[in-house]
């Protein structure tokens, strides 16, 4: 909890470019996730602005904001949080397609395409989240995000809950998706080796300040 007048971070300036990855490191509690949520438009900054294609978020019309929310997606640390535990995976994926106004007849085709992107067998669609491993769910979470064709993805510790071999899978899947779709990433991680492997540029959030590093 912060006292009045205190800040989590201040005077932060960074750019995320299409097809590139900006890596954000820092210790727990430094505000990495908060910064990710602010950039994704889920929290409002006390001061300063987030610009998307030169438009400030605060000055966007409702339709522009809706487009922004679709184009800038966020992927969380725990994939269990990304799926409704009481619905089968197929249903959770279909929900996104309904939101995208994809005709019902095309849902099966689109869902199967997504499953191929995620590198998983079709059977997972008839399973509940609790019946899948963390790695499979994180692949599905990413696959579902990619259905929205986002321009940017905020990756908030996408592999920190996963073991080493599954981590390697997800990182390769992210790199492949970026190469094919020119997606820009903000990768938040406390693991320097993950940041070095994935990022074109990176910085450390420390004592409320962002220090860019080579």
């Amino acid at each position: 909890m912060l006292s009045p007048g205190k800040y989590v971070f201040r005077e932060i300036s960074l750019e995320i470019r299409p097809g590139k990855t900006f890596g954000l490191m820092g210790l727990s509690g430094e505000g990495k996730s908060t910064l990710g949520r602010v950039i994704a438009g889920l929290e409002k900054p006390t001061a300063g602005s987030i610009y998307y294609n030169c438009l400030p978020l605060s000055g966007m019309k409702k339709t522009e904001h809706a487009a922004f929310r679709r184009r800038v997606q966020i992927m969380f640390q725990d994939p269990m949080d990304a799926f409704n535990p009481r619905k089968k995976i197929g249903h959770s994926v279909s929900e996104v397609l309904t939101l995208l106004k994809v005709p019902k007849v095309k849902h099966t085709l689109k869902t199967e395409e997504m499953i191929i992107t995620a590198g998983l067998p079709k059977e997972v669609l008839s399973r509940y989240p609790s019946q899948l491993s963390g790695g499979q769910l994180q692949r599905l979470a990413l696959g579902r995000i990619l259905l929205l064709s986002p321009e940017y993805i905020i990756l908030d510790e996408p592999t920190s809950a996963l073991d080493v071999s599954v981590q390697a899978h997800i990182l390769h899947m992210l790199r492949k998706a970026q190469a094919e779709r020119n997606t820009g990433y903000l990768l938040i991680s406390h693991d320097e080796s993950v940041i070095r492997f994935m990022s074109d540029s990176c910085g450390v959030l420390e004592n409320g300040q962002l220090k860019l590093i080579d």
């Binding site: 820092g26 509690g29 499979q136 080493v164 390697a168 390769h172 492997f197």
Partner: protein, 317 residues
């Protein structure tokens, strides 16, 4: 493969755990290992391979729909045959447990001091004031300053790393002979992991506590464990001394795990672990193994001893 340490503390033999549901799922089969006095054995493997089930089976914290077979002995005492009352006395006193998520393992409505004093009050029937004062001394010995302040804090006021240190303090308050640490570093940042590592090393060095360390962080395991047991789809596929294992793993799955490390370029193992409800025939790793032969798909390999290590693979007859 027996522990090289003087006296066996924990002996697990042919442990099998299944869960009864619409279909019976075998989560563990033929798990055998031992832990010597003051030895640290690490269990490593992918999520869902059954590492935590082993830990929960040892302290009998599995849900009622589970069926546990085999032998689990702590200094010759068969834990699976004890009454609920008897095993409750062992949990927390002779076997300390550090669970994965400190924010779930600590009670959010009680202060840190209250929770640290609990083992002393439950097992030694000490008075609250005395128990809290002892808890404060333990924190002081762990290197905490402003102890009076810390014990009045609530878990939500503290960082994940700090809460994990409190959990270790609570779990080792009664000097257990064995500490089970189930993914103690999960979700913690580097600084917290370093703090945690120092704490566990202190326990090993000063109190000579034996440990069953469950972790997917292989670097952490390398720095702390004396021996490593690799698990895949509910069974141990390799068991070796830590230094030997990290220098020259034998099982193709163990090799794959080490190749996934950052220093080896994050090379993933192709495919996924099989669901425990429908494991493949023969060797459970064969669908993902680049070295598989016909026999791997037909016969299930036994865990065999080779040069002071054990491996479950037909490549090593």
């Amino acid at each position: 493969m027996k522990a090289h340490f003087t006296k066996t503390l924990l002996e697990v033999r042919d442990l099998e755990v299944s869960f009864k549901g619409i279909k019976t799922i075998t989560a563990l089969s033929g798990i055998s290992f031992s832990i010597g006095e003051s030895e640290t054995l690490a269990l490593v493997g992918e999520t869902g391979c059954g590492k935590s089930v082993v830990a929960h089976a040892i302290v009998r914290l599995l849900p009622p729909e589970s069926r546990v077979k085999g032998i689990v002995e702590l200094v010759g005492k068969s834990l699976l045959e004890l009454s609920e009352k008897e095993i409750a006395k062992i949990r927390g006193k002779e076997i300390g447990i550090v669970f994965q998520n400190p924010s779930l393992a600590l009670n959010p409505v009680y202060s840190i001091g209250h929770q640290l004093a609990e083992p002393l009050r439950v097992h030694r029937k000490e008075k609250k004031k005395e128990a809290i004062s002892k808890a404060a001394t333990v924190l002081k010995n762990m290197g905490f300053v402003n102890v009076a302040e810390w014990i009045s804090y609530y878990p939500s006021w503290c960082s994940g790393g700090m809460n994990q240190r409190f959990l270790i303090a609570a779990s080792t308050m009664l000097d257990p002979i064995l500490l089970i640490a189930d993914e103690p570093g999960k979700g913690l940042d580097r600084k917290c992991i370093t703090e945690l590592e120092i704490e566990l090393k202190k326990l090993k060095g000063e109190k000579k506590t034996a440990m069953l360390l469950i972790s997917h962080d292989l670097g952490f395991v390398q720095r702390l464990a004396d021996r490593v047991a690799v698990m895949y789809a509910g069974e141990v596929v390799e068991l070796a001394e830590s230094s030997i294992f990290f220098e020259r793993p034998l099982h193709p799955y163990s090799k794959g795990l080490l190749n996934s490390l950052p220093e080896n370029g994050f090379v993933p193992i192709p495919g996924f672990s099989p669901p425990l409800s429908d494991p493949p025939s023969g060797c459970k790793f064969h669908p993902r193994c680049s070295l598989r032969k016909k026999s791997c798909t037909e016969r299930h390999p036994e865990l065999k001893e080779i040069d002071e290590r054990s491996v479950r693979c037909f490549l090593y007859p």
